[in-house]
């Protein structure tokens, strides 16, 4: 007995495991997305906003003092408007919501970067915005809570369970079930039911596309490896997308050691998709633990699980301490304060057996100062 009739599978992973109330909305979103992708006017509008509002293309910066043996380039998504790659996705989905006639946006956030991106595009397009955030994350990412408030979003604390991203996502989906006729769910990563993993990847592919062109310009060759942190996995899937067809380029995803859904997980269903999860043998979802709120999630995008099984991408882990060390190293050697999430990617890039490496620097570290200074 199988579930193969469901749409949107990457090999064994993905699908649409949602209550019936949402199925028509997913069909509508899938149609709307296909229409808008085929519309040259949409492409033009999105490209214009990416350039003038987000600040794309972001630089590919060759580090000077970070490593003596390797040439490490940073794809500077931290320089995007709002400080992380999340805006790429939020902007595209705001245009989709407008096309579908939805005036209300609901989103979940962990580190607050997606929440800020959602609040930002809602301010820009005049949409109502509700962001669910675990109360534990509100505490450790307080500056982003204030930013969302200033941008006009309502931040609703989630006080139960882990009080982090997993519960915030569940509550955002419950809100969507309740308000589905007026509301677009602006999911922040390449997770959730089909078509979200496709849609988010398509909107983040700009990272990999730019990096591919930029590294060829700079080095006249492709890198040995591209490395990105993986929570839900949207910055990684966007960066990987630019190199996935170049078989000689290693794709390396770096998970938080206490949230290694790909490294130590098993197949299960969470938030509308089958993927590799931190789950027990009965299919109950386990708690993740990471210093980084953005990686503190027991699931991962289904396409990553597929890339792992297919052998095309490899997934490793970094501990809280390793990420903190890389955070300080980049700050002191290059004058760039990274978010704790991409600090995990940096930590593994530094000891990777490769000479020319592109690292996805997915966001800046202002939000993490309190966490880092408290250690």
């Amino acid at each position: 007995m199988t579930v193969d009739l469901l749409k949107g599978f990457y090999g064994a992973y993905g699908g649409q495991f949602v209550p019936e109330t949402l199925m028509p909305a997913l069909e509508e979103l899938e149609r709307g997305w296909a229409e808008i992708m085929g519309d040259p006017g949409f492409r033009l509008e999105l490209d214009g906003l990416q350039r003038d509002y987000v600040g794309r293309p972001t630089p590919l910066y060759r580090t000077e003092r970070l490593s003596e043996e390797k040439r490490i380039y940073l794809k500077r998504e931290d320089l995007c408007h709002t400080g992380a790659h999340k805006i790429n996705n939020a902007l595209g989905q705001a245009l989709v919501a407008r096309r579908l006639g939805k005036r209300r946006i609901v989103a979940e956030t962990g580190a607050g970067q997606h929440g800020v991106a959602a609040a930002t595009v809602c301010a820009r397009f005049g949409l109502d915005c509700v962001v669910y955030m675990g109360s534990e994350d509100m505490r450790r990412q307080a500056p982003n809570v204030d930013r969302m408030g200033l941008l006009g979003a309502e931040v609703r604390p989630v006080e139960f369970g882990t009080k982090t991203l997993k519960e915030a996502t569940s509550e955002a989906i419950r809100d969507w079930i309740t308000n589905v006729e007026t509301t677009h769910y602006l999911i922040g990563s390449c997770v959730g039911p089909h078509p979200y993993p496709d849609l988010v990847r398509d909107l983040q592919t700009v990272i990999g596309r730019e990096a591919h062109t930029q590294i060829l310009e700079a080095e006249d060759r492709l890198p040995d490896a591209v490395v990105a942190c993986v929570g839900g996995g949207s910055n990684a899937i966007g960066l990987f997308a630019g190199f996935v067809d170049d078989a000689d380029v290693r794709l390396v995803g770096v998970e938080a050691a206490g949230a290694a859904s790909l490294g130590t997980g098993r197949p299960g269903v969470l938030h509308g998709a089958r993927s590799s999860l931190l789950a027990d043998e009965d299919g109950q979802i386990l708690d993740a633990h990471s210093i980084s709120a953005g990686l503190d999630y027991p699931g991962v995008g289904p396409e990553h699980a597929f890339l792992r099984d297919a052998g095309r991408a490899e997934y490793v882990a970094a501990t809280d301490e390793e990420a903190l060390a890389a955070f300080h190293l980049l700050t002191e050697r290059e004058g760039i304060i990274p978010a704790l999430e991409p600090a995990h990617a940096l930590a593994r890039a530094l000891d990777l057996d490769a000479e020319l490496i592109v690292v996805g620097l997915s966001g800046r570290g202002d939000k993490d100062l309190a966490t880092v200074l408290a250690r």
Partner: protein, 238 residues
């Protein structure tokens, strides 16, 4: 045939006794919740009950034992209600085989769309947002009766009866003759009567859990009897 009253109970140590009390109060059918850590279709009452059940060790094997204990006490239909993650882990076919052996008469899987695993016998859910095409497929594939999700939202009693139910019933009647049971949002005898006036019966979950929690088997029996009484007072029109 009388209109049906279905009561939802979360699997747990006290569930067999509660099941017996619910049937003595007049329940025609019992849904037994197999708790999941991340129940997207459920509001706060059932979510909290699931958290407590999991904390007390109610994993799949224990839930099947609970089902079997309930079966030894009651003769009505028993339907485990759960989420896909449990079946994915246990195996779809094995889950149904073992549930049936423990006394289940069907299943409800809240996040398994009608297109998926058509061989798995289960009661299908349809909602006010369900398209006509999906409504037809659900009616065709459902096992015995169709579960009408009365409102766009999660489980949990509401202040007033659903304004969306009448239209959903009307649409469902044009495509099927199977019994229609309305659930989600129904908590009082008055709401149950209002929903039963449109359908073939009602499902009550969150409020039943609260009553069972506060007043035990005796209180649950009285509460179910009050629902029974209200529903029986509704004239049968078809």
């Amino acid at each position: 045939m009388r209109k049906l009253v279905s009561i939802y109970l979360m699997a747990g140590r006290d569930t067999p006794a509660l099941a017996q009390a619910a049937v003595e109060g007049g329940a025609d059918l019992l849904e037994i919740g197999f708790p999941f850590s991340d129940p997207l279709a459920d509001g706060p009452v059932i979510r909290r009950a699931a958290e407590q059940a999991l904390a007390s060790g109610m994993r799949t094997a224990a839930c099947l034992e609970c089902l079997s204990d309930a079966r030894s006490r009651v003769d009505v239909d028993l339907v485990p209600m759960t989420y896909a993650s449990l079946l994915e882990a246990y195996g779809y076919e094995r889950f149904w085989t073992d549930a049936k052996a423990a006394g289940a008469t069907s299943l409800i899987v809240a996040d398994l769309p009608v297109e998926a695993a058509p061989e798995l016998p289960r009661v299908q859910l349809v909602a006010p947002t369900t398209t006509s095409e999906r409504l037809r497929l659900a009616a065709e594939r459902t096992d015995g009766w169709l579960y009408l999700v009365s409102l766009t939202g999660t489980t949990g009693a509401r202040e007033s009866p659903s304004a969306q139910l009448a239209r959903l019933v009307e649409r469902a009647r044009t495509v099927t003759d199977v019994p229609l049971l309305a659930g989600f949002g129904i908590g009082t005898p008055e709401h149950a009567a209002a929903a039963a006036a449109l359908t073939d019966g009602v499902v009550v979950g969150s409020r039943a859990l609260q009553v069972a929690d506060e007043a035990g088997p005796r209180g649950l029996m009285d509460y179910v009897a009050s629902l029974r009484h209200a529903v029986d007072a509704v004239p049968i029109t078809r």
